[in-house]
Amino acid sequence: MALSLQRRFVTPGPGETVEEIADRALPDQDQGAAVDAIRSWNLHIFAMRRPPGLLLGSDVVFIEPPIG
């Protein structure tokens, strides 16, 4: 059985910022827009967490919107 397509994600490197993740994961996009997109796809990090936006090495950071 082949793996079905699932939402792509990356995990943050040591000390990596959301800007750096945006550059790495979405290199073709304007950085500001890419950062905004990543924030909106990852409310578990950028809205629900205290403090918001604290990136952890174990995080799943989605680099695309939900599929379907």
């Binding site: 059985m1 082949a2 793996l3 079905s4 699932q6 939402r7 994600f9 995990t11 490197g13 040591p14 000390g15 578990h44 205290r50 604290l54 952890l56 090495g57 174990s58 799943v60 989605f62 939900p66």
Partner: protein
């Protein structure tokens, strides 16, 4: 001469095969024969009209602390459980330096809702390393224990305060690998980690600061031993859960290890989540990965009072802050109109009706008897107050000793859950035994599997249900001596009545250290429980036998 013969029961041997009438002979803690047995024994256990099955294995518990003063993990053993797995969710009591104890107590208190007195009043803290913890519990076990070691405590051991600050460097990762090896050599059944939990200050637990490379390095050590990796995924978000399944699959394939994740539960608010989870698990199994979703049998019922913070208030940080204060300050805060107005506002524009209206007064505490069974919504109307205010004022009038029940808050639709539990890749567990003491009873899930899903709905046959709790669990966890009634296996045996096995009503008990309260359920239909060939429980009584071992 055998030590014991269990005579004349319906032998349901754990394999899933149909039960048959037979006897089980036991010698030196092991099963030596199953079938028609003639010969004499020092003790006969009569099992006519009863089921004779392997002892149940509970793979997700937090009995780490309780085992230090209660080697039976009561009341787990009387429910037919003969082996428990503590140390889940990244937390264990070893390896742990004396200087870091307070920090880990804080995590247990926050995450598993255990009272601080449980850590200070009932045992002497004699160990730092895993072997020392093992020796401390082994002194008086009447149940078997297959303990996980927690990633958060290994990280704390190696990195000290940096464990909750940053990624580990190469030297630290290698030190963690060495420590994990030491724990596995000392009898750990695997490693647990968490992607969701926070400590009592709201700070993510140490395991969450680990890069995937760190988990990969630790999984490589698990691979040397073929041992289990257990995780708590972000169960509230299906896409993240699936990402975690994929990470586990990668680790499982690369290191040839079993992995498991929990909780997995059904909610009618997100009806497709379990199906999506299981579909991904099926895909990963078909590639050869072992990623076992662990599902509880019981519906989610949460009880609470304003005497202590509760899971129920997870979405109300102000309430949690106030309920964490010492009693006098808490009562003062609940009497302060300004504070109360803010608390009520936090519960929504309807004054908490949607969030709290369906709560039911449990009774048996400080509340007036005539309120027992009534909804908070009703009571609020009578009082002419909004719902959240009624909760606060009613509690204040009775010294805060008013317990409310939020029943069926998820995973409650039997016809949906049955087929999920019956799925061959769904691992039954996730009881959380020994944790969440004042929120719900974590005992009785095995009985509930039989009463609700075998007898009532028929989603599983008796043999299937037994297999799920015994041989399948032993196979998943690599517990080679357990889980089957077969010559050569450990004589962990439960004798029960198929017509009445179940769980009793949830009731408060005040049997924790410092007279701490917890919710428990008694077992019904369990006659006798043998652990390593000795009768540990029979006729409603625990015996003096201490035959339990660390059993990996």
């Amino acid at each position: 001469m055998y030590d014991v013969i269990v005579r004349g029961g319906l032998v349901v041997d754990g394999s899933g095969a149909p039960g048959y009438l037979g006897d089980v002979a036991v010698q030196d803690g092991k099963i030596v024969a199953v079938g028609q047995i003639t010969g004499d024994a020092l003790r006969f256990v009569e099992a006519e009209g009863r089921i004779v099955a392997p002892g149940f294995i509970d793979p997700h518990t937090h009995f780490d602390v309780q085992l230090l003063w209660d080697g039976a993990a009561k009341p787990a053993l009387e429910h037919g459980i003969t082996c428990v797995v503590p140390g889940n969710c990244s937390l264990s009591l070893a390896p742990l330096r004396a200087a870091d104890r307070q920090q880990v107590i804080g995590m247990f208190q926050q995450i598993e809702e255990m009272p601080p007195a449980a850590f200070t009043e009932a045992f002497e803290w004699t160990w730092e390393d895993f072997a020392g913890y093992r020796a401390a519990i082994e002194k008086s076990l009447s149940i078997n224990v297959a303990p996980l070691v927690g990633h958060s405590v290994i990280r704390l051991w190696v990195m000290g305060p940096h464990a909750q600050e940053r990624a580990a460097d190469a030297g630290e990762i290698s030190a963690m690998q060495d420590m994990l090896r030491e724990c596995l050599d000392a009898g750990a059944v695997g490693l647990s980690t968490s992607f969701v939990d926070v400590d009592e200050n709201g700070r993510p637990v140490p395991s969450r600061f680990a890069q995937f490379e760190e988990l990969d390095a630790l999984s490589a050590v698990l691979g040397e031993y073929g041992r289990m990796l257990q995780i708590v995924p972000e169960f509230y978000a299906i896409d993240i859960t699936i990402a975690r399944i994929d990470q586990l699959a990668e680790l499982s394939l690369k290191h040839n290890i079993p992995t498991t994740f929990s909780p997995v539960f059904d909610s009618t608010a997100t009806p497709d989540n379990v199906a999506r989870t299981v579909a991904r698990v099926e895909e990963q199994f078909s590639r050869g990965a072992r990623v076992w979703p662990q599902m509880q049998t019981r519906p989610i019922d949460i009880s609470f009072s304003l005497l202590r913070p509760s899971l129920f208030f997870a979405r109300l940080p102000r309430w949690v802050r106030i309920l964490r204060q010492p009693l006098e300050q808490r009562i003062a805060a609940l009497r302060d109109p300004e504070t109360v107005a803010k608390m009520v506002a936090d519960t929504g524009p309807d004054g908490g009706e949607r969030m709290m209206g369906r709560l039911v007064v449990r009774g048996g505490d400080g509340a007036p008897v005539e309120l027992t069974g009534r909804t908070l919504s009703d009571i609020a109307k009578d009082r002419g107050e909004v719902t959240a205010l009624a909760l606060i004022n009613l509690s204040l009038e009775h010294g805060l000793d008013v317990a409310l029940l939020s029943a069926n808050a998820g995973h409650e639709v039997t016809d949906r859950i049955g087929p999920m539990l019956a799925h061959p890749l769904v691992h039954i567990g996730a009881s959380d035994g020994g944790a969440h003491l004042a929120s719900f009873s974590t005992y009785g899930d095995t009985g509930y599997l039989f009463s609700e899903f075998v007898r009532k709905s028929g989603a599983l046959s008796l043999e299937q249900a037994v297999a799920k709790l015994t041989a399948e669990t032993a196979d998943i966890w690599g517990l080679k001596d357990r889980g089957r009634l077969e010559a050569g296996k450990a004589a962990d045996i439960v004798i029960f009545d198929a017509a009445t096995i179940g769980r009793g009503e949830e009731r408060p008990a005040f049997d924790m250290p410092g007279n701490g309260m917890r919710y428990v359920r008694a077992a019904t239909g369990i006659d006798t429980v043998l652990v390593n060939g000795q009768v540990a429980y029979a006729g409603g009584q625990y015996s003096e036998a201490r035959a339990g071992v660390v059993c990996v």
